[in-house]
């Protein structure tokens, strides 16, 4: 009887492990969907942010998605992201995302890149409050900052980054909510403080 129970327990654990392996085989791997930061913006003023589109910095030639000046939200090389500055770490939302959540993060990064959204140095995410819906769809964003890419992606899927209990969700159409995420109220460096450090090493 005891032996049967033992075999049953082993079989149960085995099948659980197999199902865990199976469910993660095709899901986000490595550092996909995590935020990455480096320093050196206006010397020591703040950091620069991007989202990992690939598992590692070496997976493809353009492993990250970010918003840069004079350009649009787009994929870029690891060297362009670093731009000779010091890497500050890989970060995730404070509530641990599942690999499926990270698939969603990554795909939303690709969606933002597909919308050709231009740069905005003042607001994390800028949109017309009169024409956008209750929730600001990616096609309704007129411009965004590098930390806005991270904030928008995580908060569209309900993972809070920066903000008070009323205005934290940057994807909710609101004049004051948009304002809450503007200027120096939040910067790429301070944004990282609202996330959890995964590793301070370059993701490779």
């Amino acid at each position: 009887m005891k032996k049967n129970k033992f075999i049953f327990a082993i079989a149960l654990i085995g099948s659980l492990l197999i199902s865990m392996v199976n469910s993660s085989v095709y899901a986000a791997t490595g550092y996909e969907g995590y935020a990455v930061y480096r320093d050196g913006v206006l010397f020591n003023y703040t950091w620069h942010a991007a989202i990992m589109d690939e598992a590692y910095s070496t997976t493809t030639t353009r492993p990250i998605v970010h918003s840069t000046l004079g350009n649009i939200v787009n994929y870029d090389t690891w060297n362009n992201f670093l731009n000779g500055k010091t890497f500050k770490g890989v970060y995730r939302p404070n509530i641990t995302p599942t690999s499926t959540d990270r698939d969603l993060f990554k795909s939303m990064g690709r969606k933002l890149a597909n919308e050709n959204i231009s740069y905005n140095a003042g607001y994390q995410v800028y949109y017309n409050t009169s024409t956008a819906g209750t929730w600001v769809d990616s096609s309704e964003i007129s411009s965004m900052r590098c930390d806005g890419v991270v904030e928008y992606i995580y908060e569209w899927y309900g993972f809070k980054v920066y903000g008070n209990s009323t205005y934290w969700d940057v994807t909710k159409n609101s004049f004051w909510g948009r304002d809450h995420h503007s200027g120096t109220a939040v910067t790429p460096q301070s944004q990282a403080g609202y996330l959890t450090l995964v590793t301070s090493s370059i993701p490779k």
Partner: protein, 365 residues
């Protein structure tokens, strides 16, 4: 006399030359910072930068933005402008519209400065967009980057249709992309007609034009609740299967997903060449369409596709509808998969993302 003059000259040289030599010698991260404006910000933290900026008058602030844009902007150091723009926004009401438009139109200013002033104008006039004075520059000779900024930041109406059509013809890149996108919001039928032409010979069109035409077509089909989208769905699949451009592959999947259509989402789920994360995105975006499939007497093939979708992205909201159609399954293998996926949905299913049901997205119909 001569000695005295020499001494005075030496004094003048020292007075002017030493500070210049000293300022030119500032080095940060093994790099010499020659621009005296930039030198002020070396090793300054947020508080110190703020103090410097608060002391500048309007013109000085614009000069600083120009200097930073020219030096650091060229290095792609976009976020460097953050404190300067924050300070500009604080003073938004101290700028007259005419002052802002003058800076936008002045080609001696850096393109970035001009783009920032477009943003400032937009913020200042958000509630008075009918009298947008920036639009007049769209027919003038200003850089396309500034034009794009004006287009994305502005609201257009029926009186702008000809202007937008003119802009669509101006390049094959972002200017066309943004203009066609805006036209589709103002006159989706006209944008659809232009898009049909672009997509009819997509092999010779730029990726930006094709992507914009896909978006404009989606907008038209959704706005007019056109039922038969087969031709467009086939076209997107054709582009997806044949293009080597990764951005166009993505654009085709997003167009199929943005349709919020039964046939379209089924094609995405069943297509093995689509990346997993894009399928996850589409299933999440279309969970209410999948719900409708289950509520409307689905065939076994439809149930098979829904089970496949839930194996990729389990959604709790669909547990009951899926349970209700389980009896229609004859295939034992599918029945087993259905039971397994229902267990997964109970255990680790995501909640449907109601943001997709927004009226503007049309996800909830």
């Amino acid at each position: 006399m001569f000695k005295k003059s020499k001494l005075i000259l030496l004094g003048i040289i020292c007075a002017i030359g030493i500070p210049i030599a000293a300022s030119a010698a500032i080095v940060h991260s093994n790099k010499t910072i020659e621009n005296p404006i930039l030198q002020k910000y070396v090793n300054k933290d947020e508080k110190k930068v703020k103090l410097i900026l608060e002391k500048l008058n309007k013109n000085q602030l614009i000069d600083e933005v120009n200097a930073i844009s020219t030096d650091l902007g060229a290095e792609n150091e976009s976020t460097s402008l953050l404190p300067f723009v924050a300070e500009l926004y604080k003073r938004v009401n101290k700028f007259e519209n005419q002052e802002i438009t003058k800076i936008v139109n002045d080609n001696t200013n850096a393109i970035t400065t001009r783009a920032i002033m477009v943003d400032l104008y937009t913020v200042k006039n958000e509630k008075n967009d009918n009298k947008n004075e920036l639009k007049k520059f769209l027919k003038q000779s200003i850089p396309n980057e500034v034009k794009v900024k004006i287009i994305t930041a502005s609201t257009f109406d029926e009186t702008d249709i000809e202007l937008l059509k003119y802009l669509i013809e101006q390049d094959d890149d972002n200017l066309t992309f943004q203009s066609l996108k805006k036209l589709s919001k103002v006159d989706s039928k006209e944008a659809y007609s232009i898009s049909e032409n672009i997509l009819s010979n997509y092999n010779i069109q730029s990726p930006q034009k094709i992507s914009a035409a896909q978006k404009a077509t989606v907008q038209y089909l959704r706005d007019n609740k056109i039922e038969h989208k087969d031709k467009f769905i086939s076209l997107c699949l054709d582009i997806l299967n044949h293009t080597k451009d990764p951005s166009l592959k993505d654009s085709s999947v997003f167009a199929l997903s943005d349709l919020y259509d039964k046939e379209s989402i089924l094609k995405v789920i069943k297509n093995d060449s689509i990346d997993r994360e894009l399928k996850v995105f589409s299933i999440d975006q279309n969970y209410m369409i999948i719900n409708e499939i289950l509520l409307n007497n689905p065939s076994e093939g439809d149930i098979d596709a829904v089970v496949k979708a839930m194996e990729i992205m389990p959604i709790r909201d669909l547990i009951e509808p899926l349970k209700n159609v389980k009896e229609n399954i004859n295939n034992t293998d599918l029945e087993k998969r259905c039971n397994d996926v229902l267990a997964t949905m109970e255990l680790e299913g995501h909640k449907g993302n109601v943001k997709w049901l927004d009226k503007n997205n049309n996800g909830g119909k």
